[in-house]
């Protein structure tokens, strides 16, 4: 701080607290609604203090209904983990090949991977759906995850990191008689630990929050993800929306990725900033 200004300091904290309050407001109200009975939510204006229905609502949402949320959460967890791990695995391998080998077609590979950056799933949604349908992958974990796995950003991140690894390491490994895969497993991969952790946080959230793609490739309820589940609760047509249960679901759906962000905050910020370089 350059100079002392007690009034400015006070105003700074005041605006920051207000900002944090506005950011938290929707989630606080969702939490309050998830602890009330449907009548209490409809009794406008809704109370701003949590009620005593917390346990009842969460138990109901997790276990009751035609598709209890716990199975949807399981599907979300499986696809988020498979997408994150799959993306990291195929990206780290191709970055290794592009950096540590010279082979005919290297530039072409690089450009093909780069192109994926320009083709977000929202843009090529229909033809991708047709391809996945013709491969018979609708309503399967493979269909939910594999089409989202190619990643230019992850490949670039690893390429950038490998380029910064000192030459001497590869030379020393070669002199000691290590082949390329031995070098990769024993030296490169352990060095890339922080990059892998950072990417994992970003990609887990990416996978968990996918909406349009699961919406298209799943028609059977046993393959719905949690994010699809919450959308289906509010499109009930004429039936009145049970806001207390919808908000209970919303809290449960955002809890896992929010926990990942909060518990792995250091890697999250690193991954966010570095994957855009």
């Amino acid at each position: 701080m350059v100079e002392r200004r007690p009034l400015a300091d006070f105003l700074t904290h005041l605006v920051l607290v207000l900002g944090v309050g506005i950011v938290a407001l929707p989630v606080w109200l969702a939490f309050v609604a998830s602890s009330l009975t449907p009548e209490q939510v409809l009794d406008a204006p809704m109370s701003l203090i949590p009620g005593d229905q917390l346990g009842v609502n969460y138990l109901h949402v997790l276990t009751q209904g035609s598709t209890p949320l716990k199975s949807l959460l399981f599907n979300s967890a499986v696809s988020a983990l498979v997408i994150a791990c799959g993306k990291i695995a195929i990206s780290v391998l191709s970055a290794f090949a592009v950096v540590y080998f010279r082979f005919p077609g290297r530039a072409l590979c690089f450009w093909l991977i780069f192109l994926t950056l320009m083709l977000p799933v929202e843009v090529r949604i229909l033809p991708t759906f047709q391809v996945v349908a013709s491969l018979g992958l609708l309503d399967s974990y493979a269909g939910l995850t594999i089409p989202l796995m190619a990643s230019a950003t992850a490949t670039f991140l690893f390429r950038q990191f490998f380029l910064s690894v000192p030459e001497e390491l590869a030379e020393a490994a070669r002199i000691d008689g290590a082949g390329p895969m031995r070098f990769f497993w024993s030296i490169l991969l352990p060095l890339a630990r922080t990059q892998i952790a950072a990417l994992f946080v970003i990609l887990f959230i990416y996978g968990w929050n996918q909406y349009l793609w699961p919406l298209m490739v799943t028609t059977r309820e046993d393959y719905y993800t949690a994010v699809i589940g919450i959308k289906r609760m509010i499109s009930g047509g004429d039936a009145a929306t049970e806001w207390n249960l919808v908000m209970t679901t919303a809290i449960l759906v955002m809890l896992p990725p929010a926990l990942v962000v909060l518990l792995m905050q250091k890697w999250f910020v690193k991954g966010l900033v570095e994957s855009e370089k």
Binding site: D9, A30, A97, V123, A250, M254
Partner: protein, 293 residues
């Protein structure tokens, strides 16, 4: 930059890139080519007869007043989301960079909405602004606003803009804060000794040094508003009322998946691809500049 030490193998590099390339070719390049191909054909309702029509799909699209309207809606939406989320994130980042005590706590409390899925953000704000039970909807009614986003297009638009911007503030905040922390303290202290007040220091030193970050974030925010907000819109308004919030990505989904008009949807996809390519090129031009900075 190239490695001097490389390994030699005739087959290993191909095996290493094979999984990435397979996914890329099957799920990215093939569908994109398919979209290009379908955009110049018209298919009859039963999918039996296919006819080459050249650019007729594009011509029909550009003559369609609904498409022009969707373009204008998307531009307005992207502009509002970018302005709102960049402005508030910059304010919060400047303030958080200023405080000595509690900076880490503020940071933690601001970054977590990044983890919220767009659909969930849409549902949360839909509840907040519900005209009969929503807390903010009732406040608006109490102060005399005839609030009903289910009927009023402008109100529906402001609701989805708020929801989309709310989710993006945390991302912008992280980048602005990193940019601010990279500004050397000595510069600011030297300016202060020369008699520059806080406002002068911000506009003459901090803001120019932050402008590359701001430009990068502008591009990212526009891409976000164009392509990643499908969930917000689908949950909060479904493109309504009377198409007031039907952005381009929502229209592709609606025309193609629900309306089964593959030719028109493919032509829309091709136009969207052109937009992403233009934005990505803009982003990389910026990266080149930053390297030379």
């Amino acid at each position: 930059m190239e490695k001097r030490t490389v390994f030699r193998s005739a087959w290993l590099p191909y095996a290493l890139v094979a999984p990435q390339l397979a996914v890329t070719l099957v799920f990215f390049i093939w569908p994109a080519a398919q979209a290009l191909y379908q955009s110049v054909f018209v298919e009859d309702a039963f999918g039996i007869h296919v006819e080459f029509v050249g650019l007729a799909n594009f011509r029909a699209l550009l003559a369609d007043p609904y498409y022009a309207q969707s373009f204008a809606t998307t531009a307005l939406f992207a502009l509002c989301v970018a302005a709102l989320s960049l402005g508030s994130a910059l304010l919060l980042a400047v303030l958080a960079n200023r405080v000595v005590r509690g900076a880490a706590a503020y940071k933690t409390l601001i970054i977590w909405p990044y983890a919220v899925a767009p659909v969930v953000a849409g549902v949360l704000w839909l509840f907040l602004f519900d005209p009969s039970v929503g807390t903010l909807g009732l406040v608006l009614k109490k102060i005399g606003v005839d609030w009903n986003p289910l009927l009023n297009g402008a109100q529906a638009m402001s609701m989805v803009v708020l929801a989309a911007a709310w989710k993006q503030v945390s991302y912008n905040f992280v980048f602005f804060l990193a940019g601010l922390q990279a500004i050397p303290k000595s510069l600011l202290e030297a300016a202060a000794i020369d008699g520059a007040g806080p406002a002068t220091r911000f506009w003459k030193i901090v803001f120019p040094l932050l402008s590359p970050t701001a430009f990068f974030l502008l591009v990212v925010n526009v891409i976000y508003a164009f392509f990643d907000t499908f969930g917000v819109i689908d949950a909060a308004t479904q493109g309504g009322p009377s198409k007031a919030t039907e952005v381009l990505v929502y229209k592709v989904f609606h025309d193609g998946f629900k309306g089964q008009d593959f030719g028109a949807a493919a032509a829309q996809s091709v136009i969207l691809m052109a937009i992403v390519i233009a934005l990505t090129v803009a982003q990389f031009r910026y990266l080149e500049k930053r390297v030379n900075y």
